[in-house]
């Protein structure tokens, strides 16, 4: 479980996050949704510590992450996996080297044990026979799947995904969404997904947090969204033709 209390963050005098208080549940796919520029990515990066919050607290289970020192944060981060918008695989490393890197740096496993674990994770995301390929030789969907494999290789307790479907076709997006949901349930992780893709929301949104102009505007499940009378949320949700059709079908 990740709990956030009264989180504020500003850049050069411009407040981007205002008084965010929420809880992301364990074993569920928690979504942060909102328009571009609403503060979703800043919230996600503040949660993982890539941005230092101005004030407020972030709790990883019972640990107050925001009050830890650099060394303690580093230790917590070994239980964190993150999938970035563009995959963020190391360009100069092959698929296997990318996934193996956390094991190389933080475990005392033998090389064959590491390779077994790497192949297990790659198989889990359906990446086969791509061991020696470089990121530039992979498709967008494969990059995302390798990024997922890298994120789960250390058996993380917390998984963060920053727009995992950006740049992917709808079919591949569904594959990635399902993969994230399955992995979350399988490993009982606390997963936080940042997205503005309504298909993802309707597919995997067990808990949804809507951010509007840096504030928590609405919170609920994917089912609650369709019945909400929150004007800003409806504006955002029904801007997507897909979602409109889904709502019509459900009603």
């Amino acid at each position: 479980m990740i709990h956030v209390e009264h989180l504020y963050k500003s850049f050069e005098g411009r407040t981007v996050l205002k008084d965010i208080t929420t809880t992301f549940d364990t074993g569920k796919t928690n979504l942060i949704i909102g328009q571009s520029g609403s503060g979703k990515t800043v919230l996600l990066k503040s949660l993982v510590g890539l941005h230092e919050a101005d004030s407020g607290s972030i709790f990883y289970d019972d640990v107050c992450y925001s009050s830890l020192n650099f060394k303690e944060k580093k230790a917590v981060r070994q239980h964190v996996g993150m999938i970035f918008q563009g995959g963020a695989l190391l360009d100069s490393s092959t698929v296997v080297e990318n996934v193996k890197l956390p094991l190389d740096l933080f475990t005392e496993m033998s090389n064959s044990e590491k390779l077994d674990r790497v192949h297990f994770c790659l198989n889990r995301v359906n990446i086969l026979d791509a061991d020696d390929l470089y990121p530039s030789e992979l498709s967008g969907g494969m990059i995302k799947r390798v990024a997922i494999a890298r994120a789960i290789v250390m058996n993380p307790r917390y998984l963060f995904c920053d727009e995992p479907n950006s740049g992917l076709d709808p079919k591949t997006s569904v594959v990635i969404d399902n993969l994230i949901r399955e992995i979350t349930e399988e490993y009982n992780m606390t997963t936080v997904v940042n997205t503005h893709d309504m298909n993802s929301v309707l597919e995997i949104g067990e808990k949804v947090l809507f951010i509007y102009e840096g504030q928590k505007w609405w919170e609920g499940t994917k089912h609650d969204i369709l019945d909400s009378d929150n004007r800003e949320l409806n504006d955002f949700v029904f801007a997507s033709a897909m979602a409109k059709r889904a709502k019509r079908a459900l009603r």
Binding site: F84, A88, D91, D104, L105, R150
Partner: protein, 246 residues
């Protein structure tokens, strides 16, 4: 004021770079890879520059020392001294600041804007040390070798001119390059090469690491890295010369 802020940020980054690595074995592997990309891949350009540099210095010395009162072998001597003292260390370092410096800044800068550095940080890796330290160590170890290579090839370039043109007699050139040899000059050149290597890689790494925005910014970071490391080389050339030779 901005200059002091820049120096402060550079020193802070260096303190991160030189903090204890996660696993020495991984760093050792990366140092070997960097030796290839920074060092071995620079041998070609260093060799080309050095042979022409040596040849041109010999021709210019021959033209400037044309006097019945000056023995011809001094042309070889002057060529050797110029190559050892200045050209093989400083001029080659300036060329490498362009080649290696821009490559480091754009590599690390691209990693920054594509969130690869953030990905390393999330894993709990000290990204500054992981990315920059192997480059610094490999260049500090390899650049002195490039300087020695450049010296040999530079003096060889002069030999080619003496041998195949009528600028001077080849025997007198050979006497000249062996005349009054001060071995400390080699130490001086190697110390300079190591210091310049550190400056090129650390300054370029700094500009790449703090690149922000898009590919245009990476280009700008790369240009700043080359300009700043070239200026740093010139300043430290003066300081080291004053300290070591006077």
């Amino acid at each position: 004021m901005k200059f002091f802020e820049l120096i402060g940020n550079y020193l802070l980054l260096m303190s991160k770079v030189f903090s204890r690595p996660e696993k020495v074995k991984i760093y050792r592997r990366r140092i070997m890879a960097e030796m290839e990309s920074i060092g071995l891949n620079s041998i070609g350009i260093v060799a080309i520059i050095s042979v022409f540099m040596g040849a041109v210095i010999t021709i210019q010395m021959a033209l400037n020392l044309e006097s019945p009162f000056i023995p011809k072998y001094l042309i070889g001597y002057a060529t050797r001294e110029s190559v050892v003292l200045e050209f093989s260390s400083t001029v080659v370092a300036l060329i490498l600041a362009g080649k290696v410096g821009s490559s480091i800044a754009s590599e690390i800068g691209t990693m920054r804007i594509t969130e690869q550095i953030d990905a390393l940080e999330i894993m709990g890796v000290n990204s500054a040390s992981y990315l920059i330290l192997p480059k610094i160590i490999s260049s500090v170890l390899f650049f002195p070798f490039l300087t020695i290579l450049s010296t040999i090839i530079g003096v060889g370039g002069g030999y080619v001119v003496a041998r195949f043109t009528d600028v001077m007699n080849v025997d007198e050139y050979l006497i000249g390059i062996r005349y009054s040899f001060n071995t400390f000059y080699i130490t001086y050149a190697l110390v300079k090469a190591a210091v310049f290597a550190f400056l090129i890689t650390s300054v370029s790494g700094f500009y790449g690491f703090y690149a922000q925005g898009n590919s245009l910014e990476v280009g700008r970071a790369s240009t700043k890295a080359v300009v700043s490391s070239s200026i740093a080389i010139l300043v430290f050339n003066l300081i080291l010369t004053k300290l070591l030779l006077t």
